[in-house]
């Protein structure tokens, strides 16, 4: 079946689409719905107004205006929403897409070019969509004698592992994180540990020389930079005494840790670049030496998936930097509180004659309040900010900081050449580990000198 092949015929194409649609429907009916049932059986269902929300009830309430907002709210606070949309995959993919666009335009500006321009009329906004369409319509070529299961699985696993990394990132106050772990930081290290394995397996499975060299390089690089990465964050852990990422953010409400630990931040930033395989550390994809490194044999959408995974990873690392060194979502709250009348009295909507005929209440507008009492408390001066305010302000601060960090991750691509493997290992094992230990001792000194820690500022 082909779309752009020379013998393209609309009839065949439509037939193919209908065939596929038929089979997809069949499979969904036979396998998908039972699977959903099984999942629903084990899932915690929300309780709204004392009623257990079942699927049937949810469908009923969808058409009941008074119950819609509680329904939507309950969905917003469900795990699925977190995984799929907000702090999880959708949010990360959106930032990743933005990153790709910014990277192209910024690099173009730095190099006195225009960059993507025509696609999407406005400065090439839709270039990424165009590239995605192109990639998805390209043939996937699998090299002869390749280890097919591994070769197919590698890009998907790569995206999955990157997503698992994203799952650990808290985005806003109030537990807006997919998985709030006590040992979040260690979980990050555990997840990072999977990337070299996927890389080397995909490189090995391609049965080609250039990917193999690239994979081995990637392995050495990731593995060598994992230790400085782990050590550079130890200083913060010493000062905060916790491994939970949300608590680390909250510990920085007064000042970000980068003030006390610039060395650790520099080490972490450098190792981050190396783990992300970005210039100047993009040895695994050094195109002038080994074609495209471990990505050489990936074609079409497989390549696209690896790229998606790597940009998700980029977002996750930038967010981790923000969380640990730049204070995450902390920042002055600038989002104005919502009108109290909207909550308590409702807003009257007049008709053409000016008579108020309809009063609109927004009692549980999901993003703006978790608890309607907060408004009352705020009005009475008991509470400074509502949680809705904090959420929006926090997300904006977080995104701003993340974008700033991403800018600094992207900038070296235009400024530095690629370095060599032995230089890279030398930097990792001699300089960065040394600096990381310097950072640890600084943190230790700060604690024992009483500057920070229990007896100090905090």
């Amino acid at each position: 079946m082909s779309v752009i092949a020379p013998k393209f015929r609309l009839g065949y194409f439509l037939k193919g689409i209908f065939d596929n649609a038929f089979w997809i429907l069949t499979i969904v009916t036979l396998a998908g719905i039972p699977a959903i049932q099984i999942v629903l059986f084990y899932m915690d269902l929300p309780v709204i107004d004392g009623e257990l929300l079942t699927a049937f009830l949810a469908f009923t309430w969808l058409f009941n205006p008074t119950m819609q907002i509680p329904l939507i709210k309950s969905l917003l606070y469900s795990d699925l929403f977190r995984i799929v949309v907000f702090p999880g995959f959708g949010f990360a993919a959106l930032i990743a897409a933005g990153t790709i666009f910014v990277e192209r335009k910024m690099l173009a500006k730095l190099q006195l070019r225009v960059g993507p321009f025509y696609c999407g009329k406005i400065e090439g906004l839709l270039q990424l969509a165009g590239d995605g369409l192109k990639l998805i319509s390209k043939e996937i070529i699998i090299p002869a004698k390749a280890d097919k299961p591994l070769f197919w699985a590698a890009p998907v696993l790569f995206v999955g592992t990157a997503a698992a990394f994203v799952a650990l990132i808290p985005v806003a106050p109030g537990g807006w994180v997919v998985a709030d772990l006590d040992v979040g930081l260690l979980a990050v290290f555990a997840v990072i540990g999977f990337f070299p394995i996927i890389t080397i397996l995909s490189a090995w499975s391609a049965n080609s020389k250039f990917p193999f060299i690239g994979g081995i390089r990637a392995l050495h690089q990731m593995v060598s930079f994992e230790i400085p990465l782990i050590l550079s964050l130890l200083g913060v852990v010493i000062l905060t005494g916790t491994l939970n990422l949300s608590e680390i953010v909250e510990s920085q409400s007064n000042f970000p840790w980068i003030i006390f630990m610039p060395i650790g931040a520099i080490v972490f930033f450098t190792t981050m670049l190396a783990e992300l395989e970005r210039i100047p550390f993009d040895l695994p994809e050094a195109e002038s030496e080994i074609v495209a490194g471990w990505l050489t044999e990936f074609s079409g959408m497989m390549y696209g998936l690896v790229q998606l995974g790597s940009y998700l990873k980029l977002y996750a690392f930038a967010a981790l930097f923000v969380i640990i060194f730049l204070g995450g979502w902390t920042g002055p709250v600038f989002w104005p509180p919502l009108e109290t009348e909207l909550i308590t009295k409702g807003t009257p909507i007049p008709n053409y004659a000016g008579d108020p005929v309809l009063t609109v209440f927004a009692p549980g507008l999901p993003l703006f309040d978790a608890d309607p009492n907060e408004w009352v408390k705020q009005q009475q001066g008991e509470l400074q900010y509502t949680s809705g305010q904090l959420l929006i302000s926090g997300v904006i601060w977080f995104v701003l900081k993340t974008v700033a960090v991403i800018f600094f991750i992207l900038l070296p691509r235009g400024v530095f050449p690629r370095i060599r493997l032995d230089m890279l290992l030398h930097i990792g094992w001699y300089k960065l580990i040394g600096l990381a230990f310097v950072n640890i001792f600084i943190a230790l000194g700060l604690v024992y000198a009483g500057v920070l820690g229990p007896g100090g500022i905090m």
Partner: protein
Amino acid sequence: MTEVIPTKQMPPGLQVDKVDDRIMTLNVGPQHPGSGHMRIIVKIDGDYIVDADPDPGYVHRGEEKMAEARNYITNIPHLERPVIHDSCNILYPYVLGVEDLVGIEVPERAKYVRVIAAELNRCIYIQYWLAIYGIFLGHSTMFMWPAGDRELLIDLMEKITGARVTHAYFIPGGVRNDVPANFEDVCLRQVNYFEQRIKEYADIFYDNPILKARTEDTGVLSREDAIRLGTTGSVLRASGVDYDVRVKEPYDVYDELDVHTNVLKSGDSYARSKVPWLDMLESCNIIRQALEKMPKSGSIRTKLKPNPKGGLGEVYRRVESGRGAAGCYIISKEKPEPYRLKLSVGSFRNLIALPYLLKGEKLGNMPAVYWSLNYWPVEADR
């Protein structure tokens, strides 16, 4: 006296005969982002290159054979094809040789115009080379900037010759057309701006510590080896040999201009990449001098018979092209066509240094060493 170049000292633990079963043979090229139209058969042991065998010829088109079938004038558009980016300089020795063979004098103004065109073209070539050197080292900005700034000079060349790349401008007896009116001002302005631009490359490229760490002490070609291997151009000058055909054997009006030869001592990839850049700055100087000294008016072309015949004999002329000395050896037998025409070009002469330099280097150094040799595959293949 048998003098064999000693092979470079390999790092310990890399003796080829011992590690036979670990050797991996890589075909670098012809369809490789880091090869050009050439194949280097590289044998690697781990990260180290134990053997490298260049295999040029993918763009061989027999210019020398074809030149024997064409007359002296119709050879002109063809002989610039091997290096279209440096077309004036590759044509220069041929034109000088034909002038010697036919016996024709060149007007003074034409000589200056030739020098200006040749120096502009040298800068154009070096910018292109530098762009590729940048991207070979993974420095994408250094790919875009030279490629963009090159447009300034291409614009000038287009004003002079009417073509952006393949100029076919030099002709026995002078040049084909005069420069346009008001050219001196435009040229001076653009060349000055160009010089200012390329000085900015220092910050981002030549003084970049990562680049220095990457290219310094890699692929070191000592002075003696550079001479014995017969390298030329920037490769030779980077190894500390003060040799520039423009100075040593001035042609046209180079003896009236103040040409400074850039010589660096270290002979590593960094020096080899820096010498062309210094050459560009020097070229800007030469262009300014030439614009000053150029007669403001006068003939620019001595008329030639329609189908000139060369005398009986041979001639070997050299010029300094962007890649080193370019020689043209013409044997003439009183025919309108040359009996034998041989181009002795810098790329081909520098190629011999490649396997010598790559042995024992790390794989990551391969592009840095290869492209620092100022090698242009099409010119080497001819």
